[in-house]
Symmetry: D2
Subunit: 371 residues, 4 copies
């Protein structure tokens, strides 16, 4: 991908010249370095980070499973304070607390105007895929003291005073992504939903199915802690796939039919196949996983293409209004993501945090990173 | 309306010839009488009633505000046991516990095949409005020891063993109707919803908005007991319209914009107007009320027709699959309607129950009637 | 599949005892035999066939690529005259001309009430896939002098006097199936659509994309006659995949992005893959093909699962109201399928017709069969 | 309304200081005056107008039926050439031909991110209704030699070389508005649609119903020329409401049921009422009209609120992607609006054009205005 963002000519008064940031330097090397504070173009904002986290996607970058240019500052889940505003940005003030989504749509391109903001091609109109994911991917990210918000007018979501940073930080990506699975599938009140894998995204998908009014939610995983969290996030039943064939278990729980909607939240052939096998004729597989290698559709549970089944995929929805809606859910007690943050680190110790999170040690679910 | 239902030639063996039933006899006269047990045609079933209730619509009939033929057995919210099955009905057995919705669609007419089952015109294909509401309206109803289920194959919903009659009886109408308001409006996760009037239907509409994932739900009424129930059913805020202008209160709670969706659950000009005034541009009024007399759209909150606003109406969804989904919600603890049943009567005392419920005495919300 | 249909006890007066019918007898053996005229149960009708055709699916049966019990009468696209009516069927008269869809939903089961009629499990409620396809599959079909219509109340579509049999016969399956691809994808006014394969189904899919208001329709095939028909059915551009890489051609015609919707109308790995590669991020593959063997999703055009792409499948929509709507399209000149019927045979010569159609001789598109 | 747009500080080199423009000066006074050429802010563009037209809404302004500040340059349907670009606008060049919609959404506010772009509140976030209509309303318009395009990145739609100005000018408003009626109603293939009033908007609504695949379209008006154009734009039947009760005529054409969708394209009580009376239970009234005074819902055809009917309103959809899609329709011959332009004037003669168009003389449908 070769997305050229609008140039960012000036550095606002009052900001330091350099800052500390987590920089990708090759296989399993994300290093804390001193780098320039980003400049602020007319449609940008600079945000001072107060809280961020590490995402499974960052681990894919760390392991070189997802390609990012060496030298890139990593991270895409930021809460912070506005430090500078571009000349064309209005309605905001320096010092305001903001949440910025992992996806930063421009609001004006083909994709944004067709309501697929995550695939945003930006003001320059390059036709690229997953173009809306800029932070820590096509531009520098947020595991840093400061970061640049592209298309700031569309992406700065003010945080209400009654919400803490901790309550908001997981909304930027995993909550927005996880919840979207049930939204894309348009889960109806009273439907049954199975969620395959109960990592951070899958747990949020479980919460999303509950928010949409599913009557029966089945969480599938094998780690005891995750199955416990699955119930806390809204699962009525949990299946440990090492103890029981999950497809058989799901059919047993649904009068033999299979669920109306199966959510894939891992990105493996096995879970994709289970998801397809677990859905009834006319059912939906709503997929959040990132698939490397090969992906095969087994034709029998696909009913040879004539079972009225659907396979839907979603990348994280972004934009300030999405963030506002998610914050409203937290404010009114509809979801509580606090329990997912199991560890906390200073930005200075982020290399250690990658070591822990990347290797899934100590029952980690999500880590908080504080600059 | 002149809907001619399929003839019902035979009376099954084992049933008595007559039964007690609540019969409409004119203004504020619903009398318990001895009438014939209904006959069972090939596509019918006969159900022995174990529990029913009185609906606000029955009160409209009682007051002659809604026209029903004198002599008609009233009532449309039944739980019971199958007593007889028509020759063309399969997959059921005498003795099974069933819930039957207030609306009994045929499943085959223009309206059913266009998925507006509540407007069902039946096998005979008469083009009529609200044709799907047969029980206690165009055919005899369920405030009786037995009733006939038309189009039984589409309308007998088996009750799981772990659900009591009490947990199911309100699903037939008020839960199905109330919840449908948010469904018809397609409330999205994180949206704001105001519900005007917190009677039985409005309370279920509040529950429906919660089930659909609204982040902010505002219940509007003036009776203290109903405002308390409103919070229990899912409202985050309640507004007593005698203390405060409800439109101003709603705008205050929504950054001045108004709600995304306003639900009208009463059927008055005033509440309809409030609902319209409370919605933001592009917002939706989802109406459940039955409007007599005149209904005016005030053009200013309607933005003179160019505010991208919508006014949607819904009659109670029916059919056995709707009932199954609603029972699944109850089974998995998503809604609890038990608290709405405030009084209980024997069928023998139904005249007294009408007196209490029709005049809204003693803080009544819903009454249980047991034959 | 073991779908047990309601029993069919009686044979109406006035019908012969036996009739001629095309019976499947094993590999490439469909023979004209003398068989009993079907009996008529209470919810059935018997229709005297006046016109039918052979479908690609019948050829799969003929070749034993799709399993059907030997002895089964084949065929599922009938126009005819009502010869007898079950006791529970109302609103029809013997002698009326009717069209019956290939899919005959019951209107009352889980699938019908969830609006996936093609997966209908019938009154007996067996949970099976593609249960709505009964004629010439799970019960005897229509390449015969008479056939039984199950769930007749839901499936007898009266033919208006101003429509000929010839204008209606292709609506039963290929038009209903082909048009559904654009409907399932919910093609929007002004979108671009590519249709892979321009056989009978693909040609109807092209017509469907046109009916939905697509601005640019691209037909892909290699046979000159089919590319010509593709233009006649609504394609703006046609691509001969032997002359040109179809994916490159489609990207060239869509500013490099790919189409909004790609329709797969063949059922091969290659066309499925082209369809996926031809769609833009956020685009839809709407699939009608029947896939045997393996089906692989190439991960790159699938954007590794995060391209907001969708893969949707549809089996032919059925029911009398679907048929009525399709007849209305023909009546008002919206589609003209007459040009697709290239050959005509008497039922007596149906073995010859299979030989021609099964081997795609003489530029055949569709054949008419007249009992 | 008090929308404050981003300031527009600089005037680009090469543009004249003043220009001629049609300025609203009070009741029936729109005068050609010499006014300053607008300045170009960072997110703006200046377009040199090559073709525009007069809208019915302009006539409402002219008559003081719709309030606009005296001194405002009028007009909102422009085709032209880019004369200057703001510093934050990328991907365009001076000299390119562009179409700009009547509605110019910002792409980033609450309304835009909730996909109700016509109600856009702009970068400054004022919560106002119909905020997306800026040109010739809240800022100066396009009946001038030059105009300023706010939020240019979201609103400059490049015109393909094979389209003339004449083919595009009506897309900015009446085509976008008219077609949207069937889109908002989500007209399905094979449905029936009645369109009340066959003025420019109603004629485009007729075209829109055709584009969506309606099988039966009924145009209602009384002027012979308009009824003829109605047929040319896609109506199958036309009803002269002076010759025949339009509701009775529509019921006669739809087996007594009424249409699935009725489009109101005038803004009068009488047509609104006809529209409601003409729809079947469960049907939709899709309204484009601007209603002054009182608007009453007659309760009987509204089925007292329980007929599952919907009343939907739409303001003109805007944005460059909407314009691109509409241009694609014209390019591929799906709609031909040329026949609607009956008269042509130089900008110098615009006062005369208002006289003719405002009084509906000489069979005028639309007038072309050339600076």
């Amino acid at each position: 991908m070769a997305i050229v963002e609008p140039t960012a000519p000036g550095r606002p008064a009052g900001l330091p010249d350099t800052m500390r940031a987590a920089v990708f330097r090759g296989h399993e090397q994300i290093r804390l370095e001193e780098v320039p504070v980003p400049a602020c173009g007319p449609t940008d904002a600079i945000v001072k980070v107060t809280l961020t986290t590490i995402c499974g996607t960052d681990v894919h970058i760390w392991r070189e499973e997802y390609p990012v240019a060496p030298g890139r500052v990593i991270g895409h889940e930021p809460v912070g304070v506005i430090a500078a505003l571009g000349s064309a940005v209005t309605g905001y003030a320096v010092g305001e607390r903001v949440l910025v989504g992992a996806i930063t749509p421009c609001g004006t391109c083909f994709y944004c105007q067709n309501h697929v903001e995550a695939q945003c091609s930006g003001h320059t109109g390059d036709w690229e895929m997953i173009g809306g994911w800029r932070l820590g991917n096509s531009i520098d990210g947020v595991q840093a003291e400061y970061f640049r918000v592209p298309y700031a007018q569309a992406n700065l979501a003010k945080i209400p005073d009654d919400l803490s940073d901790e309550q908001c930080v997981l909304l930027a990506d995993i909550a927005s992504t996880g919840i979207s699975a049930a939204e894309t599938a348009d889960v109806q009140i009273g439907q049954s939903v199975a969620v395959f894998a109960q990592g951070p995204i899958g747990l949020c998908a479980t919460a999303g199915a509950h928010l949409k009014g599913a009557s029966l939610i089945i969480g599938v995983d094998t780690l005891e802690g995750r199955l416990r969290l699955s119930r806390e996030m809204g699962a009525d039943e949990v299946v440990d796939f090492r103890n029981e064939d999950p497809v058989a278990a799901i059919k047993r729980l649904t009068e033999g039919r299979g669920v109306d909607v199966a959510i894939e939240a891992l990105g493996k052939q096995e879970t994709f196949q289970w998801a397809l096998e677990s859905t009834r004729p006319g059912g939906i597989v709503s997929s959040l996983g990132v698939y490397g290698g090969k992906l095969e559709i087994p034709v029998e549970p696909f009913v040879y293409g004539i079972g009225d089944k659907k396979v839907l995929t979603t990348l994280c929805p972004g934009g300030k209004e999405r963030m506002r809606k998610l914050m409203e859910l937290v404010r009114h007690g509809r979801v509580d993501l606090g329990k997912l943050v199991t560890h906390s680190y200073a930005l200075a110790d982020i290399e250690e945090a990658y070591e822990l999170f990347g290797n899934q040690r100590d029952g980690v679910v999500k880590v908080a990173i504080r600059p």
